[in-house]
């Protein structure tokens, strides 16, 4: 490496002190050069964020760092030296929605540090800020300067964040999961922007992520961390092609490959299990005196059939209405218009006791494993609940059934008496699955069931779901934002945006020959975990897409064009 910027040796981070000290990061070594992109990869609790905070001198109280981090001829970990925050090292956070001060204008937040560091006077700073906003791809930069963070979208805020840090002309930029909270298409744009900035300014970038796809796309060098230790480090090609450590291999294996299709589509000429016809739902925001201020069409004239035994995936970005659709089917949200029939029964007109009985047939699995179990109910009671409500089984029989279910989802029967807080996120999601299948439903609606989990756990849960599907012939509506995951589990895919279905058909057909520009943009934006397929600039996502009624473009493949 030429011109090494930062040289980290034996960096350790410890929480607490003395006998109660808990090591968070253990003896990390790496170098970073100008223009280099180094990726630190790991799951939650791996110590990857603590490493960056140690370099910034932003560790929480009671947490200390030891070792050496040479930067501009000084040790960053030396407590007696003021850390070169901003001007030396810039930091970009994960959550753009909360990372900007809500009560100050964008302009104020962009310029204040320049003035404080003496890089520019107020007028000069303003001019530079406008220039930089333009550079990071924000339209109408002059006008943005006077706006507040809440008036900008998540992607825009992340651009502002990048602009804010780059204005201070740092040598190193640390980006801590900068795209995790963003939609796929926006993520792709932000990654492109970061790459351009590294190329143009020769800044050294430390990219912290859990996503192997992002690593493959961005990084030249990779450092894999687990439980505070570096388990493997090397060039991105070396890590992806010949991972030396078992954990790296496990991480790579866990990534749903977009290259291999695991699902064989079944013939779908049987009678539909569930038919949705012209379903619509609008939400009105900010009602005052009975007049709605704004109306969102969450679901807009959707028609769809789910065949028995299939997994239909509903794919879309946030705000596409995919979850609302799922919730309407589970009768958790009321629809405005349209019909839903489940095996001949009109689902939406049921009320009271008949509805409660019919509910047995449709069960849900939710995203957040921490909130989907009642903290004051034992896991056994949670799983037994649908059985108790929907069947006449005796107490002993119920207990037997719960034991079976626990074993079925990969837990042990003795866990029935424990409470949710004694379980990990992955285990809780298994319990939720056991509860969902307990009373023998005909359709399972899984709303982002793996999004809140680490990749390796994700893979296990997906495996469990596909096992259940093949063994019990479950029908599933799988709601997700992640095309790679969807491709692994779904027989058919429906792509949703702004409440409408833009394309739907067999998974492979949609994947191999997407017909709608939005589907193409989604597939194009998804990071591919293969460093050899590094792309140049993408065609940037359009703002408007055709949203006409669906027409059958190929047998079973419908497009709104």
């Amino acid at each position: 490496m030429s011109s090494v910027l930062l040289s980290v040796r034996d960096l350790s981070v410890t929480h607490g002190s003395g006998t109660r000290a808990v090591p968070l990061v253990h003896s990390v070594n790496f170098d970073l050069a100008r223009g280099q992109i180094l990726s630190i990869v790991g799951e939650s609790g791996s110590g990857k964020s603590m490493t960056s905070k140690a370099l910034m001198g932003l560790l929480p109280p009671n947490v200390t760092a030891t070792g050496e981090a040479q930067f501009r001829g000084a040790n960053l970990l030396d407590k007696n030296i003021a850390p070169p925050r901003g001007t030396g090292i810039g930091l970009i956070f994960q959550e753009p929605m909360t990372a900007l001060t809500p009560v100050l204008t964008i302009g104020m937040q962009l310029t204040e540090a320049m003035v404080v560091h003496g890089l520019a006077d107020a007028r000069d700073a303003k001019a530079r800020a406008i220039q930089m906003l333009e550079r990071v791809g924000i339209p109408n930069p002059k006008q943005r300067m006077t706006q507040y963070p809440h008036e900008l979208s998540g992607g825009m805020r992340q651009r502002v964040m990048i602009a804010m840090m780059m204005l201070l002309e740092p040598d190193i930029l640390i980006a801590d999961e900068p795209t995790t909270a963003l939609d796929v298409t926006v993520q792709a744009q932000i990654l492109d922007l970061l790459r351009d900035i590294v190329r143009d300014t020769d800044v050294g970038l430390i990219l912290i992520t859990h996503d192997m796809g992002v690593v493959a796309e961005m990084a030249e060098d990779v450092m894999v961390m687990k439980a505070g230790r570096v388990v493997e480090a090397g060039s991105v090609h070396q890590i992806f092609q010949a991972p030396g450590d078992a954990y790296t291999r496990a991480l790579l294996d866990a990534v749903p490959s977009v290259e291999t299709a695991s699902v064989d589509s079944k013939p779908t000429d049987s009678q539909a299990l569930l038919s949705i016809r012209h379903l619509s739902k609008t939400f009105s925001g900010g009602r005052a005196f009975g007049i709605a201020a704004s109306v969102t069409r969450a679901v807009d004239d959707v028609s769809l059939d789910i065949m028995p035994g299939e997994t239909l995936a509903l794919v879309g970005e946030s705000g596409s209405g995919k979850s609302t659709l799922g919730r309407i089917l589970a009768r958790l949200t009321k629809a405005d218009k349209g019909n839903v029939t489940l095996a001949g029964t009109d689902l939406l007109s049921l009320e009271g006791a008949p509805l409660r009985q019919e509910r047995r047939k449709i069960q849900m699995i939710f995203q957040d494993p921490y909130a989907s179990l009642d903290p004051r109910q034992s896991v056994g009671a949670a799983i037994a609940e649908p059985i108790k409500i929907q069947t006449t089984l005796s107490k002993a029989d119920r207990a037997k059934r719960v034991a079976q279910l626990l074993s079925r989802v990969g837990l042990t029967p003795d866990m029935a008496s424990r409470f949710p807080h004694e379980f990990s996120g992955g285990q809780r999601q298994r319990v939720s699955i056991a509860r969902a299948i307990a009373a023998g439903p005909e359709l399972i609606i899984a709303d982002e069931p793996t999004s809140a989990l680490d990749v390796s756990i994700q893979a296990q849960i997906l495996d469990l779901l596909s096992d259940l599907k093949s063994e019990n012939g479950l029908t599933m509506l799988f709601i997700s934002h992640d095309l790679a995951v969807v491709r692994q589990v779904a027989d058919r895919i429906a792509v949703m945006r702004a409440g409408r279905i833009l394309e739907f058909g067999p998974t492979e057909a949609v994947w191999a020959s997407p017909r709608h520009p939005y589907t193409k943009a989604l597939i194009d934006a998804a990071p591919v975990p293969d460093p050899s397929r590094k792309r140049s600039a993408r065609a940037h996502a359009l703002d408007t897409f055709p949203m006409t009624p669906l027409i059958e473009a190929a047998p079973g493949h419908w497009v709104a064009l």
Binding site: A227, L332, R356, Q357, D374, Q377, P386, P420
Partner: protein
């Protein structure tokens, strides 16, 4: 795969007593409250004199000697009056909070559970009553019912309803929107099961904290009414009323003012500290 990150979280409501006993606020609060309960239960035995017997040993005797806390303008033993007053104070707190808590929880849970127009009607009326402020509601009640300790307690209890209803409503709303609650709906659970198996046990901890802190508010409010002469009537050994009487002898016998005031302050402090301790031990995420 041994994935270290996928470990259970520790928190949750378990180990609650251990956490309560580890918080200094909780321990001090619990001690004070238990001490008060003890005084109230054994006031007959503990009190050296009859609290309403006049002229036992002379008027305005300063604290010390035979009369540990002195005597008042009628020669009644202050210690005995304070001890007997603790019964009234605790009873006032318990009854007033009982009224606010039960009614407030009923309103709050019904509104959060049934939503729609029921929610609109209940919560808008609660908002209106809330902006009325507790003082005004209590005062209006006393104005109508007439001054007496019993009426003061009812007034304070009713005045607290809007606050408890609001708190319970927002706590219940959080729970009903959680996936576990929706999973139970999706499993076909009826209203009784949803309310008693899921909603109530999850709302209760919040309400226990609110009620504990509420006891101190209620005691203060009722003592305030008695202080104004709108609550306890003579010869009750009510602390607020005793304090009101002390004003006329403030120069001659300042202990008539300091002692009942201190008694109220310590009681209220006890419930405040206990409530604080309960809050931190029920919700470990929150900082001190």
């Amino acid at each position: 795969m041994g994935i270290l990150s996928d470990v259970p979280t520790r928190s949750a409501p378990h180990g609650f007593w251990r956490r309560l006993l580890r918080s200094p606020n909780g321990v001090v609060g619990l001690t004070i409250v238990l001490g008060l309960v003890f005084c109230a239960m054994f006031a007959e035995v503990l009190a050296p004199h009859n609290p309403s017997k006049m002229g036992t040993g002379g008027r305005f005797l300063p604290p010390g000697g035979d009369f540990f806390l002195g005597t008042d303008e009628f020669g009644r033993d202050m210690l005995s009056r304070i001890l007997h007053g603790s019964r009234i104070t605790l009873l006032v707190g318990a009854v007033a909070v009982g009224i606010s808590l039960t009614t407030g929880m009923l309103v709050g849970m019904i509104a959060a559970f049934w939503r729609g127009w029921v929610e609109a009607v209940l919560m808008r009326s609660t908002d209106v009553l809330f902006s009325f402020t507790e003082t005004l509601i209590a005062l209006s009640f006393v104005a109508v019912l007439g001054p007496s300790l019993q009426n003061a307690v009812i007034a304070v209890g009713v005045a607290g309803i809007p606050f408890y209803a609001r708190t319970c409503y927002s706590a219940a709303l959080v729970e009903t929107s959680k996936p576990y609650f929706e999973a139970s709906i999706a499993a076909g659970a009826g209203p009784a099961r949803l309310v008693f198996v899921h909603l109530l046990p999850n709302v209760l901890p919040t309400m226990i904290v609110v009620a504990t802190l509420g006891v101190s508010t209620a005691i203060l409010a009722a003592a305030g009414l008695s202080f104004l002469g709108l609550g306890a009537q003579p010869p009750t050994s009510e602390w607020g009323y005793m304090l009101a009487g002390s004003r006329d002898y403030i120069n001659r016998a300042p202990w008539l003012m300091t002692i009942p005031g201190l008694a109220i302050a310590i009681t209220v402090l006890g419930f405040n500290l206990l409530g604080d301790g309960l809050r931190t031990s029920l919700d470990p995420v929150e900082r001190r």
